[in-house]
C-alpha cells in the first residue's frame, strides 16, 4: 500500500475544524432555539472527531474513552436542554431567541 493513498491526519483535523466552525456559525445566525441547540451538537461532534483522529495517530485508547464521556455528557445535556426548551415554550409560546430576552417568567 503506497503512502500517498493514505489520508493525512491533517485532513481529519481540517474536517473537524470546519464542522466546529459550521457549528459556531449556526449558533450565531440561527434564530430558533432548537436549531441553536443543534448547532451545539455539531460543535461537540467536530471536537469528538479530532479526539478520535489523535487517538488513532498515537494509539491512545484514552482519547476514545474521552469521546465516550463526551457522548454521555452530550446525552445528559440534550435531555436537560430540551426540557428547558419545553419549559420556555410553555412560558413564552415562542421559540425565537430574539423574543426570549428576560430571565424571569
Amino acid at each position: 500500500m503506497s503512502l500517498h493513498q493514505d489520508v493525512p491526519l491533517a485532513w481529519y483535523l481540517l474536517l473537524s475544524a470546519a464542522l466546529f466552525s459550521l457549528g459556531v456559525t449556526g449558533f450565531l445566525i440561527k434564530r430558533n432555539l432548537i436549531t441553536v441547540f443543534m448547532s451545539i451538537e455539531v460543535m461537540l461532534n467536530g471536537v469528538n472527531l479530532s479526539f478520535v483522529a489523535f487517538a488513532h495517530q498515537w494509539h491512545a485508547v484514552k482519547g476514545q474513552i474521552f469521546v465516550f464521556f463526551v457522548m454521555m455528557v452530550a446525552a445528559a445535556e440534550a435531555a436537560v436542554g430540551l426540557a428547558i426548551i419545553i419549559a420556555v415554550f410553555r412560558a413564552r409560546a415562542t421559540l425565537a431567541v430574539d423574543r426570549i430576552d428576560l430571565m424571569k417568567l
Binding site: M1, S2, Q5, D6, V7, P8, L9, A10, W11, Y12, L14, L15, A17, A18, L19, L22, V24, T25, G26, L28, K30, R31, I34, T35, M38, S39, E41, V42, N45, L49, V52, A53, A55, H56, H59, V61, Q64, I65, V67, F68, F69, M71, M72, V73, A74, A75, A76, E77, A78, A79, V80, L82, A83, I86, A87, F89, R90, L95, A96, D98
Partner: protein, 204 residues
C-alpha cells in the same frame, strides 16, 4: 460488512501480503474514497443545517452529519465509538430532538433585526476562526497519515481501560445521567396537572 473478519485480518498485518482488500479497488484507494464521500456528506449535512429554515429539516440533516461521522470513526479504527455514535447520537439524541420539534410544532424561524446583526458579525468571526484553526493544523509537523491497517482499537481494549483504570469516572457518569433524568422530569412537569389532580381527588 463483516467486522470480525475485518478485525482478524487487521490484527495480523504482514508486510509482503496486501492487507485489507475489500473489492477490486485496493484497500488504500477504498479508504480514500470512503473518506471523501463521508467527509462530503458530513460537510453537506452541516451546511444544509444552516440553510434550512424549518427545524425538522435541520434535525434530519444533523442525523446525516452524525451517521457519516460514525463511518469516519470506523475508518479511524474506533469501532466501539462508531456504533455508540449511531446508537447514542443518531438514535437517542436525535429522536429526542425530532420529538421536541414535533411536540412544540416549531414552524419556520422568523427573521428579525437581530438575525441580520448576527449575520454581519457572525460570518467574519467564523471565517477568522476557521482560518486560524486551519493554519495551525497545516503548520503542525509530524501529524502523519491515517491508514486503516495501522490498528483498530477493539471494544475489548477500550473496556479494559474503562473498567480498570477509569471505573470511578464511569460510575460518576451514571450518577450524572440519573440527575439529568430527574432534572428533565422536574423541568417539564406541568404545574397545572398537579393542581387538577388535587381538584379531581377533592371533588370525589
Amino acid at each position: 460488512m463483516d467486522f470480525r473478519g475485518l478485525n482478524r485480518k487487521l490484527r495480523r498485518p504482514s508486510p509482503n501480503r496486501p492487507v485489507f482488500r475489500l473489492q477490486p479497488v485496493s484497500g488504500g484507494t477504498m479508504y480514500l474514497i470512503l473518506f471523501f464521500v463521508f467527509a462530503g456528506f458530513c460537510l453537506a449535512g452541516a451546511i444544509n443545517l444552516l440553510l434550512q429554515s424549518h427545524p425538522i429539516n435541520s434535525a434530519l440533516s444533523l442525523i446525516v452529519v452524525m451517521t457519516s461521522l460514525a463511518v469516519l470513526y470506523l475508518l479511524l479504527g474506533a469501532e466501539f465509538l462508531a456504533i455508540a455514535q449511531i446508537i447514542v447520537y443518531s438514535g437517542a439524541i436525535m429522536v429526542l430532538f425530532t420529538f421536541v420539534v414535533m411536540l412544540l410544532n416549531a414552524g419556520r424561524e422568523e427573521r428579525t433585526l437581530g438575525s441580520r446583526a448576527a449575520r454581519i458579525v457572525g460570518f467574519p468571526a467564523v471565517v477568522a476562526l476557521l482560518a486560524v484553526l486551519a493554519t495551525a493544523i497545516l503548520r503542525a509537523q509530524g501529524l502523519g497519515a491515517a491508514a486503516l491497517n495501522q490498528g483498530v482499537t477493539s471494544t475489548q481494549d477500550l473496556s479494559r481501560v474503562l473498567f480498570h483504570e477509569l471505573l470511578l469516572p464511569f460510575e460518576v457518569t451514571s450518577v450524572l445521567i440519573l440527575i439529568a433524568i430527574l432534572g428533565a422530569v422536574a423541568l417539564t412537569r406541568f404545574e397545572g396537572a398537579i393542581a387538577s389532580d388535587a381538584e379531581r381527588t377533592a371533588s370525589k
